[in-house]
């Protein structure tokens, strides 16, 4: 049974496909969709995928993801495909793209980083040192950040 039949088609919104299996909940947190939102969201996990073996899928109704949100998505699911749905049809296909620097996406997790002082006004910056395997460091203190830390420190 394909995952498209597990959840009904949406009229308007965004479908995020090819999320690595088990990461959908983190993606929700990363996109800040887990708090204070009223949009219906369908979450499908661990379904068979020709491309990934197993994958997760998210369907977010009545909301089109912005480029900034796609940049966040790229951290957790660089191979994700994103479809903007309008009136039950795919209106746009987008890809998540990881930039060189992530500005004001997450706070550095290191307890002694200068950015831990919330009153310091410069933006939080994380640098993508390597894409595969993904390696991310704080642009100021240079400390490596793992994905769980990034998700926990989302701004």
């Amino acid at each position: 049974m394909s995952e498209m039949r597990r959840v009904t088609a949406i009229c308007n919104g965004t479908v995020v496909d090819h999320i690595p299996s088990g990461r959908a909940v983190q993606v929700l947190k990363m996109l800040r969709l887990d708090i204070g939102r009223s949009n219906p969201i369908s979450l499908v996990m661990n379904v068979p995928s020709a491309k990934l073996g197993r994958k997760d899928v998210l369907k977010i109704e009545d909301r089109e993801l912005s480029q900034e949100e796609l940049d966040r998505l790229a951290l957790l699911a660089p191979a994700a495909s994103v479809a903007i749905i309008r009136n039950y049809s795919v209106a746009e296909k987008l890809n998540a793209e990881l930039g060189d620097e992530l500005v004001n996406i997450a706070r550095c997790s290191f307890w002694n980083c200068i950015t831990q002082n919330a009153r310091e006004p410069l933006p939080q910056k994380l640098r993508v040192v390597n894409e595969d395997p993904l390696e991310i460091r704080c642009s100021y203190c240079g400390r490596g950040q793992d994905m769980d830390e990034i998700v926990d420190n989302i701004l």
Binding site: C113, I114, T115, E120, E135, C138, S139, Y140, C141, G142
Partner: protein, 309 residues
């Protein structure tokens, strides 16, 4: 060169030029020649954390070259009233031509460099980097061995929190040195740094057995286990005084091997080592003046003459 935050800000060629200029400036550092290359320039020494050698050698370097120095410390400043680093640095941007910063928080130097226009020189940011120390360390090693290439350098002690060894190891592998990292398990070199060193193609050995490394060493670089960097005092107590070196330990050492230490030392090097020909740590501290002179000239766009007399 503008800012110097980590050794990645300098190419090998730039490092070699700085070391050559430092060598030319030796008679100025000793006070034998007065060369006011930096007359009219102002250095701001922004020390948010204690320092003896770094602050004083920057001050001496600037004054020997005819410049002047503003000394800042957190006591009695607006920092004690809660001023942000950003605001403090904005002020200094208008007062000085170059800023030297030491700060207990890691990343403070890069943050300052992003905040202001004048060049920022990192004089130690928490357990992060200390590139100006690296320049004087490289100068001292080159002075002793005539080269940086192919040497076996043994880094000993607190490799986790020791910012001097973080910067030095990066620079040494770029010049083809072999590194032996000696530390207890709790103070091993951070994984991202070891990964960087290996990505540079460096031969890196990690061990906790210091005595086994002495015979093959060209340079032994001792470091203090820094109590102030430990989040937990019990963890400090477990490793305090773990590696020490006395004159009696050096019988199997190579004749040309030199012992260095960024200082201050506590128990790591017994005073009996001071009178051996291996000891270089006081010379190393003096070399801080020439290395920093060369650096100040470079970041202020002032050329060092080929012949200094």
């Amino acid at each position: 060169m503008g800012d110097l935050i980590t050794m990645d800000d300098l190419s090998n060629k730039e490092i070699e030029n700085l070391l050559d200029n430092a060598e030319r400036l030796l008679p100025v550092a000793k006070g034998d020649v007065y060369l006011p290359l930096l007359e009219g320039k102002v250095l701001a020494n922004m020390f948010f954390e204690n320092s003896t050698r770094t602050r004083m050698s920057f001050e001496t370097a600037m004054k020997r070259l005819g410049g002047s120095v503003l000394n800042f410390s957190t006591t009695g400043s607006s920092v004690s009233k809660g001023e942000t680093l950003y605001d403090t640095m904005q002020m200094i941007d208008g007062y000085a031509d170059v800023a030297v910063i030491r700060h207990p928080r890691q990343g403070a130097a890069q943050y300052s460099a992003d905040a202001i226009e004048i060049p920022v020189l990192n004089a130690g940011d928490g357990a992060g980097n200390h590139p100006t120390q690296t320049l004087l360390d490289l100068f001292t090693i080159r002075e002793a061995h005539g080269t940086l290439k192919g040497l076996n350098v043994v880094l000993v002690g607190d490799l986790r929190y020791g910012r001097t060894v973080h910067s030095l190891s990066h620079a040494l592998v770029r010049f083809g040195a072999t590194l032996t990292l000696v530390s207890p398990e709790s103070l091993m070199m951070p994984r991202e740094i070891v990964s960087d060193l290996k990505n540079h193609g460096a031969e890196v050995t990690e061990t906790s057995d210091f005595s086994a490394t002495i015979g093959d060493a060209d340079v032994i670089y001792m470091t203090r286990i820094q109590k102030e960097r430990f989040p937990d005092e019990d963890e400090y107590a477990k490793v305090a005084g773990i590696y020490t070196l006395s004159a009696g330990d050096l019988s199997g050492a190579k004749k040309e091997m030199v012992i260095m230490h960024p200082l201050p030392r506590v128990e790591e090097i017994h005073p009996s080592v001071d009178s051996t020909h291996h000891a270089r740590y006081f010379r190393q501290a003096f070399n801080g003046v020439v290395a920093r002179m060369a650096l100040l000239c470079d970041c202020l766009g002032v050329k060092v003459p080929k012949k200094v007399k």
